[in-house]
């Protein structure tokens, strides 16, 4: 009963955040499958480990949203980011087998060392928010890649906005 309730809340969260930030699912366009995942979960037609299994990493990435984005040179969470992290916190609270490494990233407009520090700030912002929502800090590590791992490669704001991110990467779990 609890599991079903949580899923319903998460699908509602998805619907809200997908409207405000459709690009957050990353470069591969995998976000487009999230509606189907939600519908599949609702219909009870679940393939374990697939995106329509609410306990799967794929579900976390696609339906919950594994990343939050930041303004230029900022590590403050945006309202959209907090909504995404609310979903991550609820999911992590349910799926207690998982731990996570939160990866902080910067766009290329900055020096290497500063961007490493800035990425750590961003990852830590996400971590602190999750901890404030009740997730044990021992489950959450942070790492910064600075500007070393962009997902978009154009030198324009359209790409930079997706590169300034903190990505929650799951580890552990029964199906991973």
């Amino acid at each position: 009963m609890k599991r079903i309730l949580t899923s319903t809340i998460l699908i509602a969260t998805l619907a809200v955040s997908a409207c405000t930030n459709p690009s957050r699912f990353g470069a591969d366009g995998s976000g487009s499958g999230s509606g189907a995942a939600g519908a599949g979960a609702g219909a009870g037609n679940i393939v374990p480990g697939s995106a329509n299994d609410p306990t799967s990493t794929a579900y976390f990435q696609q339906a919950i949203g594994d990343r939050v984005l930041f303004e230029v040179d900022q590590s403050t969470l945006t309202p959209t980011g907090r909504t995404t992290l609310d979903g991550q916190a609820a999911w992590l609270a349910t799926n207690t087998d998982y731990q996570a490494v939160i990866e902080g990233h910067a766009d290329e407009q900055g020096t290497r060392e500063y961007n490493l520090a800035l990425g750590e700030r961003r990852a830590n912002s996400a971590r602190e928010y999750l901890v404030s929502k009740g997730i044990a800090g021992s489950r959450l590590r942070v790492v910064s890649y600075g500007k070393e791992r962009p997902i978009e490669i154009c030198s324009e704001e359209a790409c930079y906005t997706k590169n300034r991110r903190a990505v929650t990467v799951l580890a552990g779990g029964l199906t991973s």
Binding site: Q109, G110, T111, R112, E113, Y114, L116, S125, E148, I153
Partner: protein
């Protein structure tokens, strides 16, 4: 072109390595490139092929003269007169110089040399002549070594010539450790590489299985500090160049360590440690592993660099709201801000001469490599591009190498050098892309 215009527009009132004396001056005084202000006129010189003094030395005699010439012309301060213009030949290292023949083609300096190869041992002699004074400049010197180290012998000859004419220390017999890069921006492979200052003799020190960043030479050139993700988290490693063996220096759980540099003694490392969303500067005694925290603020403090006397540290901090440069005592404590121009300043590096700080500046969407005095005065921007960063000083404090990343999806990173007057900007050849250069001290 825009760079040149920019530099001119700043109306520099400071030190610059300039062209040589005109012919009239040369006839009255010793051969000398003075460090003055003025129009660049590279000093014309001749380096005939060295004299082979053994049967096996023929090709070496040609190659040595070529590398000496490339070193000198590469500074932008010298211009080689081609052999096709020579009137005299030098057929004997000890024969008198026919000064009139070299004057006639306006060779102000003449370098002659001789080479002896015996088995794997190599002996190189050279002499430098001030043609218009009709006299030798300094005494002849000779260097002995091994055949496979022949380029170093050429660099040593060129360093001696450069030093005698400019009065500055040389920098040709030096190496650069850097990050060799391949692949697009979203899938870039990085590995540490070491090469001669001019891009020759590249060797790789790590594989590209994990991200490596910002190698930094020890004061004696025998070790390199760098940051690697091989544990999954950024950690500082020290690598012995001779044995290519490495060990991790700093690995506290739940932290990231990066931006290391050696102290002038080589016994201490200054670095940044990030924990809980805050990056501060620490020093660590390499022998004992004991760390001391030097800054303790909620802002980002990183990119520390020692003064040559080891008493102070220049670093960047965003405590004012944006990245700026500060100097603090080596023990920590109150820091003095030195950068006050518009824009953001990062990656400060103290000059080996102690007189200047080189930095990366971001302003109005452009990146610059620049230098300023220790009180922040006389700021000069030497370059401008989409993304220049990470300066490193030549051993003599007269040339800076840095990395330039080009714009857009197909962008890549290359090494460049520029002298501290902003002249002689040029690409340093590397087999792959390059970033994060660190220039060694002059080799012994």
């Amino acid at each position: 072109m825009s760079i040149r215009l920019l530099i001119m527009g700043l109306a520099l009132a400071c030190v610059a390595i300039m062209g040589g004396p005109n012919a009239a001056q040369a006839q009255q005084g010793p051969l000398r490139i003075e460090i003055t202000e003025g129009v660049i006129e590279p000093l014309p010189f001749a380096v005939p092929s060295f004299q082979p003094e053994s049967g096996a030395a023929g090709q070496m005699a040609v190659d040595l003269a070529r590398v000496v010439s490339e070193d000198l012309t590469g500074t932008g301060l010298f211009r080689e007169i081609p052999a096709s213009a020579f009137i005299s030949t030098v057929s004997d290292f000890n024969a008198p110089i026919q000064y009139a023949d070299w004057k006639a083609i306006n060779a102000q300096a003449l370098v002659t040399g001789a080479v002896n190869v015996s088995g794997n041992s190599l002996n190189v002699k050279f002499r430098l002549y001030d043609v218009f004074s009709g006299a030798e400049l300094g005494s002849g010197l000779q260097f002995s070594g091994t055949v496979d180290g022949w380029r170093r012998m050429a660099h040593k000859v060129a360093d001696a010539v450069y030093s005698r004419i400019t009065g500055e220390g040389g920098y040709f017999d030096s190496r650069v450790v850097y990050v060799s890069e391949t692949g697009p921006k979203d899938n870039r492979s990085k590995r540490l590489a070491i090469m001669d200052y001019d891009g020759a003799n590249v060797q790789y020190l790590t594989d590209s299985s994990s991200i490596v960043l910002a190698p930094r030479f020890s004061p004696t050139g025998d070790r390199v500090l760098y940051t690697s993700y091989e544990s999954g988290f950024p950690r500082i490693y020290v690598l012995d160049i001779g044995s290519v063996s490495r060990r991790v220096l700093e690995s506290a759980e739940g932290t990231m360590s990066f931006a290391p540099r050696f102290s002038p003694s080589g016994e201490t490392v200054v670095y940044s440690l990030a924990q809980g969303g805050n990056t501060d500067i620490y020093t660590m005694d390499i022998g004992s592993g004991q760390s001391v925290r030097l800054t303790n603020t909620p802002s980002i403090e990183t990119a520390p660099s020692f003064s040559p006397d080891g008493s102070r540290i220049v670093f960047e901090s965003d405590r004012s709201g944006t990245q700026q440069l500060y100097i603090m005592p080596v023990t920590g404590g109150e820091a003095t801000r030195i950068s006050f121009g518009s824009g953001r300043y990062g990656t400060p590096v103290w000059s080996p001469r102690g007189d200047l700080v080189a930095f990366t500046k971001q302003n109005a969407g452009r990146f610059h490599i620049g230098v300023m005095r220790l009180d922040g005065s006389e700021e000069r921007l030497l370059t401008a591009s989409f993304l220049d960063e990470g300066p490193t000083w030549a051993p003599n404090g007269r040339v800076i190498m840095f990395a330039r990343e080009t714009q857009g999806a197909g962008g890549s990173s290359s090494l460049f050098s520029v002298d501290i007057s902003g002249r002689n900007l040029k690409k340093v050849p590397t087999p792959e892309g390059g970033s994060d250069p660190s220039w060694s001290p002059l080799q012994k």
